[in-house]
Amino acid sequence: MKQTHISLFTISIFFLFNFWSANSQTNLDTIQYKEKYGLRIGFDLSKPLKTLLEDDYRGLEIIGDYRVYKNYYLAAEIGNEELAIKEQNISSTAKGSYIKLGADYNAYENWAGMENVIFVGMRYAFSTFSQTLKEYTISRGSQYFPPNIIAGPFETKGLTASWVELVAGIKVELLNNLYLGGNVQLKRRISQTTPSNFDNLAIPGFNRTYDESLFGVGYSYSLSYLIPLYKKAKD
């Protein structure tokens, strides 16, 4: 009984692969498909959505990439964000703009006629922002006296930070030239200036920071449109 099942499974797999390979071979042999090269621009969907849903968030990001050569793309994001951090004893906001520049590599071998993207990429990112300490409570070893809460706002302007990002994601062509994308980002801070006697609890473009760690994470969903500039045969 068990053996019949196994052999049935093996046979069906065998047929499936046979069918697939036969299919791809005919495609490759007969027609030469041309692929589109151009500028793809769009915006981050998650940031306007978060702006609507969360009281203390505001953000917008414009994204773009340009296909330079085969599977290589120049890529950039530019954005503006206001991020609020609320911890038990401290609350703050970070407000500012950022730019990310880098490249993507499309690791996906498309079927003929399709132009989807599964990519990995690197970015160098730079942010200028202000950090506002809104309220904090002094940490004390005894609760005998009532809590000592100090209310701001205390704003520090002209702060900067830079970091590198590892990006991985997908872009799927929904309609002709219209793409829906999603990606995850891993960030590692290179430099930052902090307010005196305080820290950057969040950085626009970087998201929240972690004490004792230079790393950060992020995600985004995007909608973008490819402006085709020329076509080139796939080799």
């Binding site: 038990q88 004893n89 904090y136 409570t137 006296f145 006697n197 820290d199 609890l201 972690y210 004490d211």
Partner: protein, 178 residues
């Protein structure tokens, strides 16, 4: 052909996922809880010594400690030679009553002796981290006995400020002789 491609693609995605998982796990230490080992606003450590025998610790009998402007009692009827008390972090002074022979709730016979000490200082705020927020260190601490009209006999004979900058709780900051 396609099988090879699928395999290759799977390998790439798998590798990517692994790298991300490993790197993200570095970020997963909890940093929203202030660890007890962190140096936060220090308490004022006071040691009591015998006035006749200045090297010998001497616990005051049934000591009650209470801030002058607070209704609640900080320490009640303790018999120890060392206590730790908080200083106010919102003003530059804290006034404490040190009550010797504090009576129990039912006791109406014992006679207690209240001495008041005014602690004055300057405050420095330091940022610790996102979980512990800020701490206050006290500098230029001074301890001044206050006069009380009703009892002229002070049980505290001498006060010595051992450390006038209070940044930790490693050593006693104040010696009281009685």
């Amino acid at each position: 052909m396609l099988r090879k491609k699928i395999k290759e693609f799977n390998r790439i995605i798998l590798r990517l996922g692994l790298v991300f998982l490993v790197l993200i796990s570095f970020n997963c230490q909890r940093d929203d809880i202030c660890p007890e080992t962190t140096l936060i606003t220090p308490l004022l450590r006071i040691s009591f010594f015998d006035i006749e025998n200045p090297d010998v610790p001497k616990p005051p009998t049934n000591l009650r400690v209470k801030a002058v402007d607070m209704d609640s009692i900080l320490l009640n009827r303790v018999n120890v030679s060392e206590i730790s008390i908080p200083l106010k972090t919102d003003v530059d002074f804290t006034e404490y009553e040190f009550i010797l022979n504090a009576p129990a709730a039912t006791d109406t016979v014992s006679i207690s002796n209240t001495d008041i000490i005014l602690f004055t200082y300057a405050r420095n705020e330091f940022y610790i981290n996102r979980a512990c927020s800020y701490k206050v260190n006290f500098i230029n601490l001074k301890a001044t006995p206050q006069t009380i009209a009703e009892d002229s006999v002070r049980w505290i004979k001498n006060i010595i400020v051992e450390e006038e900058n209070i940044e930790n709780e490693t050593n006693a900051h104040i010696f009281i002789y009685h």
